[in-house]
Each structure stands twice: as C-alpha cells, then as structure tokens.
C-alpha cells in the first residue's frame, strides 16, 4: 500500500472552499476587512469640498440618510444599475429563481406529493441554492471529440441572449434598459438567435442524442416563430408603432387581449413551443433522446442553460404582458399625492436635501412602484399558465407538432390579422385607441 499525493484539481479546490465556507466568511470579515482598512489609511484619499473621503468617512456617510440617499439614488440612475439590477438581469434572475421553486411546489401539489421539503427548514425554500452549489461543485466533462470553443461558448451565449431579451422589456415608466424605437423588431431578432445557439451547441457536442435534439429544436422553433411574429402583427397595425413603450401606453384604457383573443391564444401556444415546455418539450424528450441537446452539458454549463431558460421564460411572459395585458397600466394601489401623515411616518430626513418627495419609499417614484407591482402581478399570472400544462399534458410527436404549427396556428394568426384590419378600416379603433 502506498499513498499517492492527490494532484491539484480545480474541483478539489472548489470542494475545499465549499466545505469551509463558514470559516472563510468569518475570517474574511474579522481579519480581512480591518487589514484592508489599515492599508487604505496610508493611501491618498480624494478630497471633496475640503473633506478627505477616507473609508471611515464613506461608512459614516452611508449611515447618514442625508448623504447616502442621494448617492444611492444617483447610482440607481446609472446604466449599470439598470442592466445588472432592476429591469435587467438581477430582477429577471430573481423572478426566474422564484419560478423554479414555485414550479416544483405547484407540480408537487398537483401530483399529490410535497416537493422540496427539507432544504432551508421552511418548505424547502433553499433548494435552489443547494442545487446551484451542487452544480458549481460538479466536474465539467466535455466529450473528447467535441468542438470545444463552440461547446464552451454555447451555454454562455444562451444565457446572454436570454438576458438581451430581458433588456428590451419595459417594466415601469422610464425603466427599460434599451429603449429603442423598433423594440418589437429587436425582440424578433433576439428570438431568432435561440435556434442558432441550440443547433450550434447540439452539433458541436459531436454526439448522437444532442444532434437529434438540436435538429428537433430547429424544426420546432423555426415553424413556431412564424405564427409568433404573425400573431403580434395585429397589434402593430392597430397601434402603428413597433416601440414597446408606446404599445403599452396605447393600452391605458383597455388591454389588446379584449379585441384580439385569437392572437393572444396563438401567441401563448407559440411561447410554450419556443420555451420547449411540455407539451412541446420534444428537443429535451427524456424517454426518447435522453435530454436532447442538453445531454452532454454537465455541471455549471447545464446550470447556465437552465438559468437562461428560466430568464427566457420570464422574458416571454413579460412580452405577453406588454403586448396583450397592458404592461404596467393598472389602478393605483396607493395614493397618487403624498399625504402629510405618511411623510411624518417615514424615515426622518431633511426635506431640502432630497429631490424625492415621498417618504416611506424614498428612492423610487410612485409611478414606478405602482407600475412594477402591476407588471409583476400580471407576469406571475402568465407564468402560472405557462407552468400549468406540465402537470396535465403528455408530449406531442414531431409530426403532430409541425401540423399544429403550420396548419393551425398560422391560419389562426392570419384570422387575427384580418380582425385587426377590420377594426382599423371600420374605424372602431385606430392608432391611439378608440376613435
């Protein structure tokens, strides 16, 4: 018996880190932070208004609302905040993570079981964190004959494309990452990227099941993109614009789903197909082709694809809300004018120092909060209906799927366009609402 010293491996390092995560955090805070601050004392600090802004002063300012709130508010109006946190990736990832948990619990209730239960004591609320840690700590295995650069790039590209989709969705008045005039056209362009990434990843894996899954995904996405685009054309005719913000503003009085329910149904079914959800999960059909185009992804590569999938789910649901359900429009959930009592109830701040009037929630404008609440409520409702078929339907076959796409949905989408044309020419509705 001889003991061989273990070779250095990234997996071992990550395992050591995850095993000792508690001590690492404790030591970093107790030793690391004071050490950094001692070093910083001997560095030249910026001088603003005759004051030296050393780290202690910054901490001091952060605890004082008169100084910290304008700083935070300025930070919130930067592009970085919009991309990374609120209408962008962080918000979408938060909703996506919530959707994963809700999906598991919802399906469990449907199927007479409990779902995630132990992780995090309360109804398995930390299951997602546990799954993420597991995926990070797993070894990444790549097929020997894979085309490695493309295979590595595919999950990243997939998540990035989903995030680019999120950037186009206006969440609240003024809160959209990329406010472009041809927003809907950009959405179609982003949707057109998904089949390319799928086929690239499937082909580069150089394996049989991913290849079959990729070809299936290509068939499915291409044949469902046409009715998806056609079903939104009616709204473009009625509003006369491709700007998503203007489309939302045209629905102040009524959402478009009232006038074109057929278009909404076609769009919803196309969403299910684009998202590869049951009953249209042929590219990942487990009992036929293992996991389809995801078969060869392991560890965090798979995790990235899943993250991208759920961000994409959020983005499609949000697009449904924007196009058919009126986006952020909704009744006021709290009063428009700030009431005097509320001001005295909130954080005590000097009134002249801040530009924000409302206390209690001093950082955001009231329109933004109201719009976000309605937007999130509507999106969650749509996501619920996207999740539900998974408990009810089996998977369709590829020939039936193509028949649904080409024979039925395209015809229905054209019917929807004719309805829109009739509404425009009869003079009932035109750009700008009811005439």
């Amino acid at each position: 018996m001889s003991v061989i010293a273990p070779k250095f491996r990234l997996g071992y390092l990550i395992k050591a880190i995850t095993d000792n995560i508690f001590w690492i955090i404790v030591l970093l805070t107790l030793i690391g932070l004071p050490a950094v601050m001692i070093v910083l004392i001997y560095i030249d600090f910026p001088v603003i208004d005759g004051e030296i802004w050393n780290p202690f002063r910054v901490f001091d300012a952060m605890t004082h609302p008169e100084r910290s709130l304008p700083l935070v508010k300025n930070f919130m109006q930067t592009d970085f905040f919009k991309i990374a946190v609120f209408p962008g990736l962080g918000f979408a990832a938060l909703i996506g993570g919530g959707v994963i948990f809700v999906e598991r619990k919802l399906l469990a209730k449907l199927q007479l079981r409990v779902g995630p239960f132990y992780c995090g004591k309360v109804e398995g609320i930390l299951q997602l964190v546990a799954d993420g840690l597991k995926l990070i700590s797993k070894e990444i295995i790549i097929p020997a004959k894979a085309d490695k650069p493309i295979f590595w790039a595919a999950p990243v590209l997939f998540a990035a494309t989903a995030a680019a989709f999120v950037a186009l969705i206006p969440v609240a008045p003024g809160w959209v990452v990329a406010d472009i005039d041809l927003g809907l056209l950009a959405v179609f362009a982003v949707i057109g990227f998904f089949p390319i990434i799928t086929v690239l990843s499937a082909w580069s894996a150089n394996s049989k099941y991913p290849f079959i899954g990729g070809i299936r995904a290509l068939f499915q996405m291409v044949s469902f993109e046409i009715p998806l685009i056609l079903s939104l054309l009616g709204i473009v005719m009625l509003t006369g614009t491709l700007d998503l913000v203007e489309i939302i503003e045209s629905q102040v009085n009524f959402p478009w789903i009232i006038f074109m329910p057929i278009g909404a149904i076609v769009f919803f079914i196309c969403i299910l197909a684009e998202l590869e959800r049951i009953p249209f999960d042929l590219p990942e059909a487990e009992s036929e082709i293992v996991a389809g185009w995801l078969t060869e992804f392991s560890g965090m590569m798979y995790g990235l694809v899943q993250l991208g999938t759920y961000i994409k789910l959020y983005a499609f649901a949000a697009l449904f809300v924007v196009m058919f359900l009126g986006g952020w429009n909704g009744p006021w959930v709290f009063p428009i004018e700030p009431i005097a009592e509320v001001i005295t109830d909130g954080i005590v701040i000097m009134p002249g120092a801040l530009t924000v009037e409302l206390s209690g929630l001093p950082l955001f404008s009231q329109e933004m909060i109201n719009g976000t609440i309605w937007f999130v409520l509507k999106t969650v409702a749509v996501i619920f209906f996207i999740l539900l078929p998974r408990g009810v339907f089996p998977r369709v076959r590829i020939d039936l799927l193509l028949k649904i796409g080409w024979y039925k949905l395209i015809v229905l989408a054209f019917v929807n366009i004719f309805i829109a044309l009739a509404l425009v020419y009869s003079g009932v509705i035109g750009p700008g609402g009811i005439m």
Binding site: R113, K208, P279, E288, V290, V392, P394, R397
Partner: protein
C-alpha cells in the same frame, strides 16, 4: 466479404463483424443507460426520424433463477423465485405452488384458495400501477407518473397487513398461504378497494381521455389479430388485438371458476388499446376481490403441514397462471429428490418482447417509448 477487402481488418478480434456503413442511417444504442430503456438495450437504426431496423438486446439482469432452483428445496425456493418481478411476486409464485402441490399431492384448504386469489389480484393492481406510472413518464406525462405511484400505496398497505411485507411477500407456499389475515381485514380491504376503484376512474380524465395522448398512441404500433397469435404474444397485448384469451377463464385454477368477472377485449391492437387493457383489468381485479371477500369461508385452516423435506415422485408438471404480463408458466421436473431436477420458467414478458421489432420497424422515433412500454414488458422478468 468486406473484411477481406479491407486489409486493416486482420487486427480485428474473431467474432467481431463489420457492418457496411450507410451515411443516411444512424445507429442508436437505446440503453442500458437510457431513461427510456429499462434494463435492456434496443439497437435502433433510424433513417431521418423513421426506424428502419430494431434489435432488442435483453439479458443485462440475468440472474440464473432456473439454475438456482435446482440446488434448493421446494420450500426454500420460494423467496428467490419472486425476485424477477418483485411487484408481482404473488403471481410469479402461483404456478410454482400449484405445480409443487400437484407434485406432492397436497390438497389446499378452501380459505387459503380464496386468500391466494385476493393476494394475487391485489398484486396485479400493484404491478399494473407501477407499469402505468412508467408508461405515463415515458410519454412525458409527469402527473401520470405520480398518481399511480401514490395510489399503489393503498394496495401495498393492504398487502402489508395481509403478508407482513410491502413488496416481496413470499406469501404463497405449497399447501396454502403462509399466515392468516389479521382480525378486521375484510372490512379494511373492502373499504380500500372501493376507494382505489374510485381513484382509478379519475385516470380517464387526466390520461386516457387526453387528446394529446390519443393523438400520440392511436394507430401507432398496430398489431393485427393474426400477427398477435402468430408471434405468440400473451396477456394484455393479445387481448388488445381482439383475442379473447385469459387463463383465469380458459384454464381456471383455485377458485376463479366460482368468481364473477369478465375478460376485457379491444379490437384496435394499437398502443392505446394495449395501454388501456391493464387499466380496465384493474376494475375487474377490484370486482374479483369484492366477490372473493363475500364468498370466502370466514374461518378455517390456511396451510397444511408438510414433512421437513418433501420429495416429489419421478414425474413432471406444468402449471400456468395469468400474471400481470400474461401467461406465466412453470415446468417442474422431479427425479425423486427434495430439490427439483429442472425448473423452467416461461414468462409473458419475453413472449411479448418478440413483437417489438415487428411493431417498431417503420415507426417514428417519437413512438418508440409509446410502443415499447405498451407491450407490457418487464425486463427483469424476461431475463429471469
């Protein structure tokens, strides 16, 4: 011919054959490590999305049950003989016990006969629920995976009360059953079976009347009446093709003659009919159990005592029963020793597997799970 033409082939080991490679045909090894295969391998050759050749390759879970039985006494054979299909363990022991009783000339008490029928029908429900759950998940219907698994627990609880074990019961012994039922078993059994039947009716709403399921399984993998007889299929596959054949009716054993039930026969012969027959059979099982509970003698012996090492004569017997997967027969050869000289097990699974290449050739790849699992094939039992 190809091996001679290619000089590289000299290094190839003897026995390895080379195939001519066609660029249009892709070979898929479905299994044994595949979520849609079970403990077996199916070698598929597909042209586009159509299967042009199918070659099932069982044998991954062969345990040599027949050879093992030659080294054990007639009583000690019982626990290992139920391993091939632990979900249907009463039914796989049934022909063995019937055969050994005939061999040793034992007369089974009347109450034990009824208990055997009840246990075997409950066990058929357990097996069929398990099979149905997997059929559901093979078609991507996750609710149909969970519901039968949950409802199966009802029947398993009943069997646990009756036999003391959840899955591997070892309940049947030559000369009766191992033990009598607990005191209020009849009432509990009746109540649970009634509830179970109510739950079974709900499967129609979620599964059997589902339009997507019907569009997927109707008219796929059609097995005609003639082919079903010619290929030697049994059980639900045979009855789905329009052949009225049930061993409980044709060659009644124990008390099946006196009980009131019917045989379900459908004429379509497609995957949908094959998946529906076991579900309909579960209603008949409930009917049989209710009838047997009524007609069963309320008290009496359930087992006759055997000598320590009973020896059979110089004869051989063959007895068969209707299991969850069709005809299940055992051929026991005795040469005057406490052990069987030879035990041959003939299972329905393997006989239904023969129909698989016949059905899958020409189908689409998406139909593979729907057709494969509708054949009521249990890989472990087929390998024995």
């Amino acid at each position: 011919m190809t091996s001679q033409a290619n000089p590289k082939n000299k290094e190839i080991l003897p026995g390895l054959q080379l195939e001519t490679v066609d660029d249009k045909i892709m070979t898929l090894n479905v299994g044994p490590q595949h979520p849609g295969s079970g403990h077996m391998r199916i070698i598929l050759k597909i042209d586009g999305d159509y299967i042009v050749h199918c070659d099932p390759d069982p044998g991954y879970v062969h345990r040599g049950e027949e050879k093992m039985a030659e080294y054990r006494n007639y009583i000690t054979n019982i626990p290992h003989l139920e391993r091939p299909v632990i979900h249907d363990s009463c039914n796989i022991l049934y022909p063995y016990c019937l055969g050994v009783e005939e061999l040793l000339g034992l007369e089974v008490p009347e109450r034990a006969k009824y208990l055997r029928v009840i246990a075997s029908e409950l066990n058929r429900c357990v097996y069929t629920q398990y099979w149905l759950a997997i059929y559901g998940i093979f078609l991507g219907h996750s609710t149909m995976f969970m519901w039968p698994m949950g409802d199966r627990e009802l029947v398993i609880d009943l069997l646990e009360k009756m036999t003391g074990a959840r899955v591997t019961h070892s309940y049947f012994v030559p000369g009766g059953v191992r033990n009598d039922t607990p005191p209020n078993f009849e009432d509990v059994c009746l109540r649970q079976v009634n509830y179970f039947e109510k739950r079974l009716k709900e499967y129609a709403d979620i599964f059997y009347d589902n339009p997507i399921l019907i569009s997927r399984t109707k008219d796929t993998g059609i097995l005609s009446r003639e082919d079903a007889i010619k290929l030697g299929t049994t059980g639900s596959v045979l009855r789905a093709s329009g052949v009225d054949f049930d061993i409980r009716k044709k060659e009644p054993y124990d008390v099946y003659e006196e009980l009131d039930f019917q045989t379900n026969v459908l004429k379509e012969g497609d995957s949908y009919a094959r998946s529906k027959i076991p579900w309909l059979d579960m209603f008949e099982s409930c009917r049989i159990i209710r009838d047997a509970l009524q007609k069963m003698p309320k008290s009496g012996s359930v087992r006759i005592k055997l000598k320590p090492n009973p020896k059979g004569g110089d004869t051989e017997v063959y007895r068969r029963v209707e299991s969850g997967r069709g005809s299940l027969g055992m051929h026991i050869v005795s040469r005057g020793k406490p052990q069987p000289y030879r035990l041959k097990i003939s299972v329905g699974s393997f006989r239904n597997l023969i129909a698989m290449p016949h059905l899958l050739t020409g189908e689409m790849l998406g139909n593979m799970p729907a057709v494969y699992w509708s054949l009521n094939y249990w890989p472990v039992e087929a390998d024995r």
